[in-house]
């Protein structure tokens, strides 16, 4: 009897699970994602910050020191005595708090499938790169390169036409194993990524459609061959930021990995390698990882860029020098008012990254003095900010962040395809009231897809629909816009005499073709996931209902919104967010009509030939200044045509122990976490 009973239970349950499991999943497996993606979805507070996959190394300004640090030699564990007491008093340990463990120490894997924000904080900016963003202003400046590259030139080699450029390298930059950092290292890294078809962030750094190969003309002169003419995003803001790995260390590892069979197995073998004593050329070297507890980087005594000085001038000029080694200036003649000046360290002997399980625990550790700074992609919430502001020895800093939250329209449905309708919706949304009054400054209103802090690309002159109007004026204007476009009401909305509220809400709104405006849903994250976006959704619902636009805020889970909007395109309007890269070629990915297919990033199906033309131009552009003008034009165009109503961004609030450490600067887009805590610049009191 008993075995029979067991068998029956098993079979029944299996059938049940099979039924449960099969239905939705089979379909989704067949869909091919075809669109190139440029930007991350903002997980939003309370969401998957802990697991926030990846961060674009391209867009992130890594440690903005010229010349990226790499890890110094790993000291053999035996070399350090095991003292029962901790640190001797003269040693400066920079202690940082992070909220999740590293998942790898292998640079290939970190830029591949293990691109978590936490790996970025600890490992990011740890390798030499040709060019980098300058601090604060994000100027494009040489790092390992001695000067700017030669202009792209067309060249035919062996019957094949390439676009080539040459880059001179600095001499005397050394790996910690004593070898020089040379053009060979660059070529090795790029070729490995291309040959092994490395995944994750690699294709955006070494794009197989553009990059062909690189040659070392001599150890300090590099020549790169592209298959087709690379735009800014591919070369200057792409491959030029590629971290360079040591050929001497990695060549045998890569050679062994290539024996592993299929390409996926080869990648796996490379990713699985756990580096030991990997040579570095930067301010710190990775020295210890106690899984789940902390990671430590130790100072590299032979850091090339130590004592180099960077000066930025109000005129826009940039100057950098290291006594007895090199001097560099660009973007105008140095002189006049200085906006920033600092000398690179590292001043810390060691940087320890302690892992805490929750934001609250990290904040307590900061208050208690266990850590000096906390790295957190979302920054501090307002309650914590308030608490820390009153605390002795702590300084709270606030910076704009690199994100945007928006309301998107589905252009495949009426009346969202009507420009007047979209503008009326934008007019009714009082961003200033919501951000400053309701949310009390935890959000910043936005009107364009480029955040203000991204100085070089931000266009301040876009149309600011509805800004500065009172509630009554907004309603009057929106009603007028709709009327002009041919919308009619059964009962028109009536505003009270003082213009402060609606006495009689609009009813029976009809579209220009005479049909009633259908009931519409606004998909938005639930308050548990992101109270800010759900608050916006609720208020938008109320404001639109007042004039008779029948919408309902559907507050639901993040995954569900993504599925409905991006995978099925079955929705009316939605509210989500993007984390943005500095170089705004994402405008093309979001709004070009070629990305409007299923699972594409233009989920709203925005299709405007005029915009497509602008976007195509931007992709092909190779000159920074021209690209800037194009991006300005695109922003103005979008702010008027409104495929998205750009809503708001959250400022990034951070705190550090000012009784122990000082930074050369604290104003920086995305906060100091975006510069991984300025490990090579932080000084101790």
């Amino acid at each position: 009897m008993r075995p029979a009973g067991w068998l029956a239970v098993c079979i029944l349950t299996l059938c049940l699970f099979a039924l449960l499991g099969c239905t939705p999943e089979v379909v989704r497996e067949e869909v091919v994602r075809e669109v190139e993606v440029v930007v991350t979805a903002t997980p939003g507070p309370g969401g998957s910050a802990q697991t926030g996959q990846t961060s674009a190394p391209v867009g992130q300004a890594p440690d903005p020191t010229p010349g990226q640090q790499a890890a110094s030699t790993t000291q053999p564990a035996a070399a350090t005595p095991a003292p029962p007491t901790t640190t001797d008093a003269t040693e400066n340990v920079y202690q940082l708090g992070i909220s999740a463990d590293l998942t790898t120490t292998n640079y290939w894997a970190y830029l591949g499938p293990d691109g978590t924000i936490w790996n970025l904080y600890v490992l990011g900016g740890g390798k030499p790169v040709l060019y980098t963003y300058s601090a604060q202003r994000f100027d494009w400046v040489p790092s390992l390169a001695a000067d700017f590259p030669t202009a792209l030139a067309e060249e035919t080699v062996g019957g094949q036409t390439f676009w080539t450029t040459e880059v001179p390298l600095k001499q005397g930059v050394k790996w910690s194993d004593g070898n020089d950092v040379t053009a060979e290292d660059f070529a090795f890294t790029a070729h490995t990524a291309a040959e092994l078809e490395l995944s994750g962030n690699w294709p955006s750094i070494v794009d197989p459609e553009f990059f062909d190969h690189a040659e070392a003309l001599d150890p300090y002169r590099l020549k790169i061959f592209f298959k087709q003419k690379p735009g800014l995003a591919r070369w200057q803001f792409g491959q030029a930021f590629m971290p360079i790995l040591s050929k001497a260390y990695w060549e045998p590892v890569v050679a062994e990995a290539k024996q592993a069979g299929e390409i996926i197995e080869q990648q796996k073998a490379l990713y699985a390698h756990v580096p030991e004593n990997e040579p570095t050329a930067g301010g710190f070297g990775f020295s210890k990882w106690e899984r789940g507890a902390f990671a430590e980087k130790e100072r590299n005594p032979d850091y090339y860029f130590a004592d180099s000085t960077v000066t930025q001038y109000a005129s826009g000029a940039y100057a950098e020098s290291k006594p007895g080694a090199y001097e560099f200036a660009a973007y105008g003649a140095p002189g006049g008012d200085k906006t920033l000046e600092y000398t690179t360290g590292p001043y810390a002997d060691s940087a320890i990254y302690s892992i805490y399980g929750s934001q609250d625990a990290t904040v307590l550790a900061l208050k208690k003095g266990d850590i000096d700074f906390m790295l957190n992609p979302l920054g501090l919430s307002r309650g914590l900010q308030e608490q820390l502001e009153g605390e002795d020895g702590l300084t709270v800093i606030e910076n704009p962040s690199t994100g945007v939250r928006y309301l998107g329209f589905n252009f495949r449905r009426e009346p969202m395809d009507n420009k007047a309708f979209r503008q009326a919706v934008a007019t009714l949304i009082d961003k200033e009231f919501l951000t400053s009054t309701v949310l009390q400054g935890v959000a910043i209103p936005m009107y364009t897809m480029v955040p203000e802090g991204n100085v070089a690309w931000y266009n301040a002159d876009v149309p600011l629909i509805g800004q500065g109007l009172s509630r009554g004026e907004r309603i009057a204007q929106a009603v007028q816009m709709l009327k002009d476009a041919g919308f009619t009401w059964e009962t028109e909305p009536r505003i009270s005499e003082d213009g402060r509220f609606v006495e009689q809400p609009g009813e029976g709104l009809k579209m220009p073709n005479g049909e009633p405006v259908p009931e519409m849903d606004i998909l938005a994250p639930s308050p548990g996931y992101d109270p800010l976006r759900s608050t916006f959704a609720i208020w938008i619902e109320r404001w639109l209902n007042e004039v008779g636009i029948p919408v309902r805020a559907d507050l639901t889970g993040f995954n569900l919104i993504v599925e409905k909007v991006f995978d099925q395109q079955d929705f009316d309007m939605w509210i989500l967010g993007w984390r943005l890269t500095l170089y705004p070629d994402y405008l093309e990915a979001f709004f070009h009509s070629r990305h409007a297919g299923l699972e594409g990033h233009n989920a709203g199906g925005y299709n405007n030939p005029e915009f497509d033309r602008l976007a195509d131009q931007l992709l092909a552009e190779t000159d920074v200044e021209t690209a800037r003008q194009q991006v300005f034009e695109m922003q103005a165009f979008l702010a008027d045509d409104l495929p998205y109503v750009v809503l708001f961004d959250t400022p990034l609030v951070e705190a550090y122990r000012s009784d122990r450490i000082t930074y050369p600067y604290t104003d920086s887009l995305g906060g100091l976490q975006n510069a991984s805590g300025l490990t090579t610049l932080v000084q101790f009191k």
């Binding site: 009897m1 008993r2 029979a4 009973g5 067991w6 029956a8 239970v9 507070p45 309370g46 969401g47 934001q359 609250d360 904040v363 307590l364 501090l380 919430s381 307002r382 309650g383 914590l384 900010q385 308030e386 608490q387 009054t437 309701v438 949310l439 009390q440 639930s526 308050p527 548990g528 996931y529 109270p531 608050t535 609720i538 619902e541 109320r542 507050l555 639901t556 889970g557 995954n559 569900l560």
Partner: protein, 338 residues
């Protein structure tokens, strides 16, 4: 699996049953009379049970607490319909326009202050009380409904049915419950109703079923069951008229524990941000936590204490009522006959 020797007492619940044990009734008499007799006996046992129950001061106190929360739950719709304007006091979409320094401390318009999004805490608290009752009671009813039926059926039929149901129960107890709930809610964005259903089904087919079955076994061997069968009662009749009513006292006891579990689970899952609920006590604490007010100690007490205390009070009240009921149902625990 475990064979119980005859001298081992059954786990609990032999003492009192709501409908009296063996009503010796002449079956030829009318149905109405029978019902009357039953009702009278039920009333008597209820009265006796109540007498035992009130002896436990903790039990009475807890019952009073539950009553207060029930009043709170009922008061919310009334307040919303009478004195509270919906656009100010709606627990989810309301906004206190009268001031903008949210979270505002308690004041005469908002007796428990407002949260960081300008919503009235008292309104949220009352509104959530209703959801918690709905959640707890749904989960409890589902659990006990399933468990009682499963227990009675398994005990009555024995054999294959019994072993099938009991193996299923073994299986479910072996599942790590909290982890499973976390996986479920993280992946599916459960709402209140589904959560109640899942907790109910897991409890109903799991541990509670085993306990109720062992109780049902002891009822099944009673002479009146045989009498009912002999008199031509169908299986269905015997199970639902004779066995299940006698299981009810014990079922009631387990209902109380299920309510505690369900409310607690909801709060924890909401706190972790895993549920798809617009408002609950757990969400209130979650909102405070996301806003960073959980560590502020006494400065923003109204964001955390009312919701936190409500969870604790209501959970422990149900738990303690369950404990007190245990003494009613299981006479071996009573004081006076010790």
């Amino acid at each position: 699996m475990i064979e119980r020797p005859p001298n081992q007492p059954p786990p609990a619940g032999e003492g009192v049953s709501l409908f009296g044990d063996a009503p010796e009734i002449d079956l030829s008499r009318g149905r109405v009379d029978l019902t009357l007799v039953r009702l009278r006996m039920a009333w008597r046992t209820l009265r006796d049970g109540w007498a035992v129950f009130v002896e436990s001061r903790i039990g009475v106190l807890s019952l009073a607490i539950i009553a207060v929360f029930a009043l709170m739950a009922f008061s919310h719709p009334i307040l919303m319909a009478t004195v509270w304007e919906p656009d100010v006091y709606d627990p989810v979409t309301g906004y206190a326009f009268d001031r903008f320094d949210h979270p505002a401390p308690p004041n005469w318009r908002h007796p428990l202050g407002t949260d960081s999004l300008g919503r009235d805490i008292l309104s949220q608290l009352l509104f959530s009380a209703k959801s918690e009752f709905i959640l707890g009671i749904t989960a409890a009813l589902v659990t006990v409904g399933i468990a009682t039926t499963v227990g009675a059926v398994a005990a009555y039929y024995g054999g294959l049915v019994d072993s099938l149901l009991m193996r299923l129960a073994d299986l479910i107890i072996a599942l790590p419950g909290i982890s499973l709930l976390i996986v479920l809610s993280a992946l599916f964005n459960l709402n209140l109703f589904y959560l109640a259903l899942i907790i109910g089904v897991l409890g109903g087919f799991g541990g509670t079923a085993i306990i109720l079955k062992s109780q049902a076994l002891s009822i099944r061997v009673k002479p009146y069951i045989e009498a009912a069968r002999a008199a031509g009662g169908s299986h269905f009749h015997v199970i639902f008229v004779h066995i299940i009513p006698n299981l009810l006292p014990l079922s009631l006891l387990y209902m109380m524990f299920t309510v505690t579990g369900a409310i607690f689970a909801e709060a924890v899952l909401s706190f972790l941000g895993l549920l798809d609920i617009r408002m609950s006590w757990g969400i209130m604490i979650h909102t405070a936590n996301v806003g960073g007010y959980l560590l502020s100690g006494a400065n923003y007490w109204w964001l955390v204490i009312p919701a936190g205390a409500s969870i604790t009070l209501l959970c422990s009240a149900f738990y303690l009522v369950g404990r007190a009921l245990d003494e009613v149902v299981n006479p071996r625990l009573r004081r006076h006959d010790g």
